[in-house]
Symmetry: C2
Subunit: 218 residues, 2 copies
DNA sequence: GTCTATACCGCGATAGAC
DNA sequence: GTCTATCGCGGTATAGAC
């Protein structure tokens, strides 16, 4: 688990965000920004952002501290990039539900929001994990929290509409439903790891089914 | 929100753990260990453990850094005490369910475990919040993680028994049920604050009902 | 019980050689 | 693109006066 240097050719990125020249290059690769970001996010999640030093990141990449600054302006920039990735993805997930055809019921939209959110949490697990742990200790973190609250409000609206529609039980305050429902979804980041036995789509359906139908045997 | 010094007479403790002489004392009170611990936990949760310095804690209490060390041996001791509080309480909660009368069904035991856990999360919210954020960065944290995993396993057993009994749906792996169920429960620490509109017992019943019955209108 | 002063260390970040 | 060396700061913790 401790700091064996990484192969520079292995970007470690789940998705290619386009900043990597990619295979077939010649000469010494060094590390591109995307690789550094991927490893930084992983370390931030393992140890916590504040407990992770630039020196830790350097060791992990097999470089010295100062070499990091050739690729990145500051430690906080790495955090900022990660939080943007998470927030943009989550926003997109909710947008899919909001953009459903007009005749779609509020309950169906909510279910879509849940399933799309699960997919995002799985696909961008490291970045979203980081987002969910942000406390607001700096302007970067505060603005991320603000964007996150905006997303929470969009979700709460979906829940309210579904309750008003009569599809969801009305013996629980809608705000509470919303918090518990997405508390369940968000808890995925605590244990889900890519390459497990359960694929993302199945997981999305299971989470939605458990939330809507409960865990009692039918 | 920023650092107005605390009244030493106000212990800030949710429960009196017995180390405070209490009201009616004469002379300069200073700060007892319990008060320092309560404020430390609050700050650790607001900013994160690593981002909180002894200086921050001193400012919050209206003291200097070095005065803290009259009450506490080290920053890590404060963390250790908080994690013990959380782990002992959670263990007790599960024990209540395990100690149910012999004729109690596994499903009933599980429901009790959920409700008792909610009560503990509410009553010891600050300490439990801290526990749920521990990453294992030091021996203290690692041993807390170990104890936490042991609790998770006891819970997973309860779920397995309930599935084996036929009371819970069997189309979802028991481990997954366990993780999602207590992911929901644990997510409470993210938003529950004492003195809100909803009392702990109602919340416990709501969480259990939502988990077992789902959020669909009946 | 709290203070001032300080030891000692590791942090983020920069300068400049290669 | 990476290195060595270093700056300045703030961290935990301690010593000793009051």
């Amino acid at each position: 688990m401790t700091g064996s240097p990484r192969d520079p050719w292995d970007s470690g990125a789940v998705t290619d965000l386009g900043s990597t020249p990619g295979a077939g290059r010649r000469g010494r690769p060094g590390f591109d920004q995307e690789t550094v970001l991927r490893r930084a996010i992983a370390l931030f999640n393992q140890q916590g952002y504040d407990a992770t030093s630039i020196g830790d990141l350097a060791k992990d990449l097999g470089l010295t501290k100062s070499a990091i600054y050739h690729h990145v302006d500051s430690k906080e920039d790495l955090l900022s990039a990660a939080l943007d990735e998470a927030l943009n993805s989550l926003n997109d997930a909710i947008q899919v539900a909001v953009d459903a055809p007009p005749q779609t019921s509020a309950a169906e939209r909510l279910r879509t929001a849940v399933e799309e959110s699960v997919r995002v949490l799985v696909q961008h697990q490291p970045a979203v994990t980081l987002l969910l742990r942000v406390r607001g200790n700096s302007p970067v973190e505060q603005s991320a929290l603000k964007r996150r609250r905006a997303i929470d409000e969009r979700v709460a609206s979906l829940v309210q509409e579904a309750v008003a529609e009569g599809a969801l039980r009305d013996d629980i305050p809608p705000d509470l439903i919303s918090r518990l429902l997405f508390g369940t979804v968000n808890s995925l980041v605590e244990w889900y790891r890519p390459g497990g036995t359960i694929d993302p789509d199945s997981l999305a359906r299971i989470v939605a089914s458990l939330a809507f139908d409960g865990l009692r045997a039918e």
